[in-house]
């Protein structure tokens, strides 16, 4: 199941992947200030995977690395949640502290501050990692056909 689109398509895909990924990262980073966030940004980044798969038709051996990235994102997310255990789980211990990520946003109409939000932007980044990896994995597996189908019949 290998195909390859014409040179025009492949070149355009190569060029388009860069702005798609940058836009995805923008959405993830600004998730706590504007509509967007980890899931949306990750979905945007994963769409570049779809583009590459369609253009090149080759898959490479990325399954393990994508799977690791997904687990890493999720594990770090839960760990950040557990870091608030001194108070409660999911407690935003960085917010309003003045340190990195700890700025305070003034009330009213304003552009917002990127370093505010406490643990929320960190969690957004973790979710972004997870969603990027998971959606790419889904696309990759679906395009390739499920590869775990070749398992021998092990038990009844």
């Amino acid at each position: 199941m290998n195909w390859k689109m014409s040179r025009v398509v492949r070149t355009i895909a190569d060029i388009m992947v860069v702005p798609i990924i940058i836009f995805g990262i923008y959405l993830i980073i600004h998730g706590h200030l504007s509509p967007g966030g980890g899931f949306q940004g990750g979905a945007v980044i994963a769409s570049s995977t779809a583009l590459l798969i369609i253009a090149y038709g080759s898959f490479g051996k990325h399954k393990d690395s994508l799977s690791s990235l997904e687990s890493t994102g999720l594990t770090l997310f839960i760990l950040i949640a557990f870091l608030g255990l001194g108070y409660t789980v999911f407690y935003n211990f960085l917010a309003s502290g003045g340190a990195v990520f700890g700025g305070t946003v003034p009330y009213g109409i304003n552009p917002g501050r990127l370093d505010s939000g406490g643990t929320v932007p960190l969690m957004n980044i973790m979710v972004g990692l997870e969603v990027t990896a998971a959606l790419s994995l889904i696309l990759w597996m679906m395009a390739k056909g499920s590869d775990s189908m070749d398992v021998e019949e092990a038990s009844v």
Partner: protein, 117 residues
């Protein structure tokens, strides 16, 4: 007159859910059944979004909030969650259908009933 107009989204919700349910119940193609589920899902999302609407309310974002009132954020969060979960369930359902096709050679719901034997 205005109040009648505000009920229109709920009418659309009813139509969407009815179309989706019809598809799920009476179509045999598994892909069509999943499409029916997606239609119901969109209907339900529209339902929640319409619930949250308040006339002249602004988007519930801290940095763009003047002293007016906002639309209700909880249904928005619920809708977002529902969309995210919907992505996962749709992907899972489609993968199942791919495997069904490989095992049974068909995606006709009437012919996929080996469990009953």
């Amino acid at each position: 007159m205005i109040s009648w107009f505000l009920h229109l989204p709920f009418l659309v919700v009813g139509i969407l859910v009815a179309i989706g349910l019809y598809t799920v119940l009476f179509k045999n193609n598994l892909i069509k059944i999943i499409m029916g589920i997606a239609i119901i899902q969109n209907g339900v999302n529209l339902f929640l979004i319409s619930l949250a609407y308040r006339k002249d309310g602004v988007a519930p974002i801290w940095t763009s909030a003047p002293d007016e009132f906002m639309v209700m954020p909880t249904p928005h969060a619920l809708t977002l969650t529902s969309i995210v979960i919907g992505l996962a369930t749709t992907a899972l359902l489609l993968s199942f259908v791919m495997m069904i096709k490989r095992h049974y050679g068909t995606i006709d719901a009437d012919k996929v009933r080996r469990c009953r034997e």
